[in-house]
């Protein structure tokens, strides 16, 4: 089945081949497993970028294909990170506490160990009690299930409320943005149980893997991220290739028409919203162990808008566009803001990229929206000379099509 699917979708095959080649070359050049041309920190950057590509893929499914401009998917990404972070931090602190307590003359009881871990973790927020939400933190398996369950359930509940009352378009965007803001503000509190604005830290250390150097760990995570991206891409490509994809694009272009065909639009929206939230959560769970730290600032509403920016620049409504956009923009951003880009001497003024990059990004985003709504992916069209449908002048981009039809109806 996969064979026929792949042959019917050559772009997926190309993508997987490119990804495999990329993974192979990075592995060979990295410090951890190869010749060491690529530093460990850059391997981590690449691994993180792959995770961002995965969440961009989710964003493309929900926005580019279904037309729901969600400004909340980075919140799901962050939640996934928090869920895995809880286990990483708990297990790591547990290892430290156990080893320090083992020097005591009397072996420690379980409750003494738990108290000591609580002290270590929550000391910064002036507490030592474990909040209820850490109930499963000692179990990797349960916490991994929460990586899927927490973003999934939140998306399910929020989506059910929002879609049921037929909130659409920009209203939905604003509502999702409010959800993100609410979540971020909640996590900023010290008594949220997740260490307030300190966030969770020390996530780069895998508990029980102290003997493995970071160089090797970074390669492992890089592989895992690449595998997740490949699976996510396959899944997304499979979903959008069939009739399901037809329905999604139909919802994007004319929701009412899909409804009159007998499809429960709300059900489909809820389904895709929840599934993409779960993908985002998984991406986050892979991202934050490589980043080492997660705090509420990561899920500020602006992060979710950046996600939309990546997808738009890459080209929405095509899966490889989202991936290209996320990789391109995030790598270029980190190059410019990381201080590596040379300053531009204009004679009367020296342009420091650290200060000016965001302005360039913002304006180029405006330009892309205005002049190249197909994004970087549109270049592929030029190259492959894909014929565009005659739409009698106006471009029917995602989100715009429905509106034009609505106007026509009146």
């Amino acid at each position: 089945m996969s064979d026929t699917f792949l042959t019917r979708n050559p772009s997926t095959l190309v993508f997987l081949a490119v990804l495999a080649l990329f993974v192979l070359s990075v592995t060979l050049l990295a410090e951890g497993a190869g010749v060491g041309v690529i530093s460990t920190s850059f391997v981590k950057t690449l691994g993180k970028t792959l995770c961002l590509a995965l969440v961009a893929l989710a964003m493309d499914l929900v926005w580019g294909y279904t037309g729901i401009l969600s400004l909340g998917h980075f919140a799901f990404f962050g939640l996934g990170g928090y869920m895995i972070g809880m286990w990483l931090m708990y297990a790591r602190t547990q290892a430290i506490v156990v080893s320090s307590l083992s020097e005591a003359p009397i072996p420690a009881t379980d409750s003494e160990i738990v108290d000591a871990i609580g002290n270590q973790i929550f000391g910064v927020v002036g507490s030592s009690e474990f909040p209820l939400i850490w109930m499963f933190a000692d179990s990797l398996l349960l916490q991994l299930m929460l990586v899927v369950a927490v973003p999934g359930v939140l998306a399910l509940v929020f989506g059910w409320l929002a879609f049921r009352s037929r909130v659409t378009g920009v209203y939905l965007s604003i509502l999702t943005q409010a959800m993100t803001l609410g979540l971020a503000l909640y996590l900023f509190q010290n008594d949220s149980g997740l260490r307030g604005n300190n966030g969770l830290s020390g996530l780069q250390n895998l508990p029980g893997m102290d003997h493995v150097p970071q160089a090797t760990l970074s390669i492992w995570f890089f592989w895992a991220s690449a595998a997740a991206l490949a699976l996510g891409y396959l899944f997304a490509a499979w979903i959008v290739a069939g009739k399901f994809g037809s329905v999604l694009r139909g919802i994007r272009d004319n929701e009412a028409r899909v409804r009159f065909l007998g499809y429960s639009v709300e059900g489909y929206k809820l389904f895709i919203f929840t599934v993409t939230a779960i993908i985002a959560g998984i991406a986050g769970a892979l991202y934050y162990p490589q980043a080492g730290i997660i705090n509420p600032a990561e899920i500020a509403p602006v992060a979710s808008i950046y996600l939309a920016v990546w997808v738009a620049i890459g080209g929405r409504g095509r899966l490889y566009g989202a991936v290209i956009g996320a990789i391109f923009v995030s790598l270029v951003s980190s190059w410019f803001t990381g201080g590596q880009a040379p300053d531009l001497d204009l004679g009367f003024y020296t342009l420091k990229w650290v200060d000016w990059w965001l302005i360039v990004l913002g304006l180029s985003f405006v330009l892309v929206t205005l002049f190249a709504p197909r994004g970087i992916g549109g270049l592929v069209d030029l190259w492959s000379d894909r014929r565009q449908p005659d739409r009698h002048g106006a471009d029917l981009g995602p989100g715009a099509g429905a509106l034009r039809e609505k106007e026509a109806e009146q």
Binding site: G67, L69, A104, P105, I106, P107, T109, D110, S111, E112, F158, L161, A162, R164, S165, R166, V167, G169, V170, Y171, S173, I174, L175, Q177, A178, M179, L181, G182, L183, L185, Y186, F188, Q189, D191, P301, V302, I305, A308, V309, A312, D355, W356, L358, I359, L361, G362, L363, F365, V366, T369, L370, P373, G397, P398, G399, A400, L403, R404, K406, E407
Partner: protein, 655 residues
């Protein structure tokens, strides 16, 4: 060598000067000073009290002059004979000395022959208190007021008598009222006549002043104490407390017994572990292998073995604790011994509490109104661009920020705050109007009917503008100072008050509402805007230029955001993130209220303002939580009224 010579010369000179002066007869104040000389010279906060008291209670009119001189570091001692004088600095290093008793100048003396008595701040405070009784009847009203302030800061029983004495002679009616009030408070706190104190308490019952509560609260302060057997007579019992029932847990009750040395201390698990660790013998403690001691019951067994062997003190058992608790009585005892007093104070505080609750409700309402007007201000520009035109402008917050920075820049040029604000308001409007028009011409007009893309494009502008502001003004907050006449607050009583700046913002919100209604309903632009919004093609065919109308309307909405920015900048920190703090709330305000209706925006702002203040009141420590709950509330609210509080109905709603 030269220094010694010089010193010798000086001594000679000074003794000559002393000789030249008639040594005055020991006068009354000087004699007191001489009696206290040692203490005065030591000048220590801890020991100085008798010296000050001696002066203050001497009843001598000159004592005030001494204290005042002392307070301002003008009290000097002549080294040669230890006499104290007031010194006035002349040219060079010489001082002219004045006698306290006569007030006469007694001569000019070099500084080296004098010792300055320098009171530290603690001593100065004591002097100030001592001076109060003199100042209370000072001819200068401002001095009398200072004295009253000093009493309020440090009410002392000793001041009651001089205060009472000064009331009949007080000529200033305002000061007289204040004196009488302070006299009442002092009477309550330090009076000796119980009946008079109770009467005073009753007369102040229901008074909202913080000072009254501050005076009454110590009277009803209690301490939880434990007694073996019955409570001794003579104690003023507030209430008996049974351990385990209500606020007092059995653990806390037992700790109280331990603290009062009425029961043996319990052993903490730390102590037990230490004891166990001290008795490790051959890998075992009390016969239990070490490895097993990571379980609580094994530790108990091991410790019990140690106790049996007499190597450790016995643990307090649960039965013992119960017994101890049963054998004792717990009660809250008033610090104030007189039951009559505590009863009266309690009754007065209860009646005050009722009044305070009412006051707080009023205060909360004012707070909520003021928050609502801030949200309204931030959202009204959006009510035009988003509500009327349907354009999602994510850079709206940055227009607010631009307005605030305009105000800041104007203040750098025009130092007068009143003038600068008056200049800043139209200028902010002009700047953001221009920015809005530019944005509409360059970006938004290409994206009409593509709302999601408008959202993203304007977001791009938003991050660019924010970063630009950061590059120009830096990341630290810039001050935008309100004119002096907006400082302070309208204080209705100690519970209800509202700052003038919030009143001004409330007024501004009302003005904006009026301007909006006027423009939309009474002007050509308003008519054309509504026409273009409802049917662009039709409006165009009737001679309206939709391009121009859209441009002007968008400029108007942006300009109003700029003015709102000046207002918000007056009380918030002006940073590049100022706008993004408000953008989500602003959109929520418009959406919750009902798009396309200014009354809806008003209702939305009011609802969000009241809800947020309400949650803050329930959970005052946590304003972040209030915002979270507010957002959850809004999401749920949208379920029931998807089109907002004031919704357009029927086909016009455009479903």
């Amino acid at each position: 060598m030269r220094t010694t010579l010089l010193a010798g010369l000086m001594v000679l000179l000074s003794s000559l000067a002393a000789l030249a002066q008639q040594v005055p007869e020991p006068a009354p104040v000087q004699s007191i000073l001489q009696e206290q000389s040692a203490l005065i010279q030591k000048s220590s906060r801890k020991t100085i009290a008798p010296a000050i008291a001696a002066l203050a209670e001497s009843g001598l009119p000159q004592a005030q002059a001494v204290l005042e001189a002392w307070q301002v570091k003008a009290l000097w001692m002549r080294i040669s004979d230890g006499m104290f004088f007031r010194g006035e600095k002349l040219e060079g290093q010489t001082y002219r000395l004045f006698d306290f008793d006569t007030g006469q100048a007694v001569g000019d003396v070099a500084k080296s022959d004098l010792k300055q008595i320098k009171p530290n701040s603690g001593i100065r405070a004591l002097i100030a208190t001592a001076l109060v009784q003199f100042q209370l009847s000072d001819p200068d009203p401002s001095r009398r007021e200072e004295a009253l302030l000093a009493i309020e800061r440090a009410p002392a029983g000793a001041l009651l008598a001089p205060l009472r004495a000064s009331i009949p002679g007080e000529t200033d009616p305002v000061l007289k009222v204040r004196k009488m009030r302070i006299e009442q408070l002092l009477t309550i706190a330090h009076g000796t006549d119980e009946a008079r104190r109770v009467a005073t308490i009753q007369s102040l019952s229901g008074d909202l002043g913080l000072d009254v509560r501050a005076t009454l609260n110590p009277l009803v302060s209690t301490q939880l104490r434990a007694f073996a057997g019955d409570i001794p007579a003579g104690l003023n019992v507030a209430r008996r407390v049974a351990p385990g029932a209500g606020a007092l847990s059995p653990d806390a009750a037992y700790d109280l017994l331990v603290a009062a040395k009425l029961a043996p201390a319990r052993l903490s698990s730390d102590e037990i572990r230490t004891t166990l660790a001290a008795h490790i013998e051959g890998g075992r403690v009390g016969g239990v292998p070490l490895a097993q001691l990571n379980k609580e019951d094994a530790r108990t067994r091991a410790y019990a073995a140690l106790v049996e062997a007499g190597q450790a003190p016995a643990r307090v058992s649960a039965e013992q604790i119960t017994q101890s608790l049963n054998a004792h009585v717990f009660a809250e005892i008033y610090d104030e011994p007189s039951a009559v007093m505590t009863h009266a104070a309690q009754a007065a505080l209860t009646s005050i509490a009722t009044q305070v609750a009412v006051g707080q409700a009023v205060d909360l309402t004012l707070d909520a109104l003021s928050l609502a007007s801030i949200y309204f201000l931030a959202a009204i520009g959006l009510a035009i661009t988003f509500g009327v035109m349907g354009v999602i402008n994510m850079a709206h917050g940055e227009f607010i920020m631009m307005g605030a920075y305009t105000g800041y820049v104007v203040q750098q040029v025009i130092p007068n705050h009143t003038v600068s604000i008056l200049v800043a308001v139209p200028l902010a409007f002009a700047v953001t109007f221009a920015a809005g028009v530019a944005m509409e011409r360059l970006v938004i007009r290409w994206l009409y009917n593509r709302p999601l893309e408008t959202l993203l494009a304007t977001f791009g502008i938003s991050i660019a503008l924010q970063q630009l502001a950061k590059n120009i003004f830096g990341t630290q907050a810039r001050p935008l100072t309100a004119p002096g006449w907006l400082d302070g607050a309208w204080i209705i009583n100690d519970v209800v008050s509202i700052s003038y700046i919030r009143i001004a913002i409330f007024m501004l919100a009302l003005i904006f509402l009026g301007v909006f209604l006027f423009i939309m309903r009474r002007t050509r632009l308003g008519l054309e805007t509504r026409a273009v919004t409802q049917n662009r093609a039709m409006a165009g065919s009737m001679g309206i230029n939709p391009e121009r109308v859209n441009m002007l309307t968008f400029g108007l909405g942006s300009g109003i955001a700029g003015i709102a920015g000046v207002a918000i900048g007056l009380f918030a920190k002006v940073t590049s993130e100022l706008g993004s703090d408000y953008i989500v709330q602003s959109f929520m305000t418009v959406v919750v209220g009902g798009v396309g209706n200014i009354w809806g925006t008003l209702a939305g702002a009011t609802m969000i303002g009241f809800f947020q203040k309400g949650v803050e009141w329930l959970n005052p420590s946590n304003t972040l939580a209030a915002q979270t709950y507010m957002i959850v509330f809004i999401i749920v609210f949208i379920q029931f009224r998807p089109r907002g509080i004031i919704a357009l109905k029927g086909r016009a709603a455009g479903d």
